[in-house]
């Protein structure tokens, strides 16, 4: 247990400070949401109905940026071998790394998200819901992202491969997250969509540790 805490603290420190930290993810996220009105024409009335969807798309893309850092660098510098031979099962190591990734990238994105959503034309009253749903959804992104990062381990140009592996897995949270915003802006209760989003996160937190650990062991062999 103590070892897990030591690992987690290190992973958070690495995720915050290393290249691809919170600033990069948030900057990329804001750039994307600024580009959309420029590309789609400046009329806010056109954008308003799709603002939630665009915010979620940008969130998903920004979550992919630093996934390569998650296992690839540890694999390259040999520290992944050390983590595998430690006192903590590899499944928990994966979970700790995904949680650290969420804390360093997902949480800052969830704080930035309302700003972007309101800029795109979403009513400011929905800002708390945007933050809440992004907080839950980005945990799902971090977990399935960790799975994709583990699967792409050792492949040359793994970063590009991760995006292709992971984006299809991001479809459910994007659908449910944007759905929650859509329902709320139409005056409906967003709870059902949020429940599906939470269910996705729970599912991912069960499947990811085992699948990613198996992928890592395979890459080490």
């Amino acid at each position: 247990m103590r070892a897990l805490l030591i690992l987690w603290r290190r992973e958070v420190a690495l995720a915050w400070s290393g290249g691809g930290g919170p600033l990069l993810a948030c900057g990329f996220f804001l750039c994307l949401t600024v580009l959309v009105p420029l590309a789609a024409g400046g009329d806010p009335a056109d954008l308003r109905p799709v603002a939630g969807g665009i915010a979620w798309l940008a969130l998903a893309l920004s979550s992919i940026l630093s996934l390569e850092r998650l296992f690839e660098r540890d694999h390259e510098d040999g520290s992944l071998d050390l983590l595998t031979l430690g006192p903590v099962p590899l499944e928990l190591v994966v979970l700790a790394k995904a949680k650290a990734q969420w804390l360093a990238v997902g949480v800052p994105l969830a704080i930035t998200a309302p700003l972007a959503a309101v800029t795109l034309g979403l009513p400011p009253t929905l800002a708390p819901l945007v933050s809440l749903s992004a907080l839950v959804g980005s945990l799902g992104f971090a977990l399935t992202g960790a799975l994709g990062a583990a699967l792409a381990l050792g492949a040359r140009r793994g970063g590009l491969l991760i995006a292709v592996v992971v984006l299809p897995l991001f479809i459910p949270p994007v659908v449910f997250g944007a759905g929650a915003l859509e329902r709320a802006s139409n005056g409906l209760d967003p709870a059902p969509a949020l429940a599906f989003l939470a269910a996705y996160v729970l599912f991912a937190s069960v499947v990811t540790p085992f699948a990613a650990a198996a992928a890592i062991r395979n890459a080490q062999g």
Partner: protein, 199 residues
Amino acid sequence: MITAASLTVSRGDRVLFRDLSFSLASGEAIALTGANGAGKTSLLRTLAGFIRPDAGTIAFVDIALAEARANHIHWLGHLDGLKTSRRAREELTFQAQWSGAAADGIAAAVDLLALEPLLDLEVRKLSAGQRRRLAFARLIAAPRPMWLLDEPLAPLDARWRAALGLLMQAHLDKGGGIIAAVHDPLPLPARTLDIGAGR
């Protein structure tokens, strides 16, 4: 401490070695030799459990393989496993604590390997030899009986080769075991196991 029976390991289509059997007693060191690509590193990785052998078994005396991987093996590959962006102190502390070291163990390792002047530097500023000493520190800081070392002395100068030789000898005297892949002979009495020879 460890017994390998009729190990066969292949990488891709190429069989590296077939029917390799050996055992290591407590207090003994084995120097793995063989040409580049003969399979020294693969054998070490097989013993550590990273590679599953095509045939044969590995057994540790009195402990299951999973338990041995968690608490009894020190692995020092040809990569040091250090993050270049972090300070030497942070990396040493993490590696040692992760391997189960206590604070006094870390202090002793810093002392023995003369790491004190390096601790506040970023790892990227250290030379290859200094990094190897830093990575070696966890072996001293956290007592684990079985050391699997891949070219442990390669980046070191003559003085530190001798010093690490003494530390390895001390580990053997305490009843530990060492299996090391080497090109130059180890600076301590060791049985030689030539990988390419059995082919």
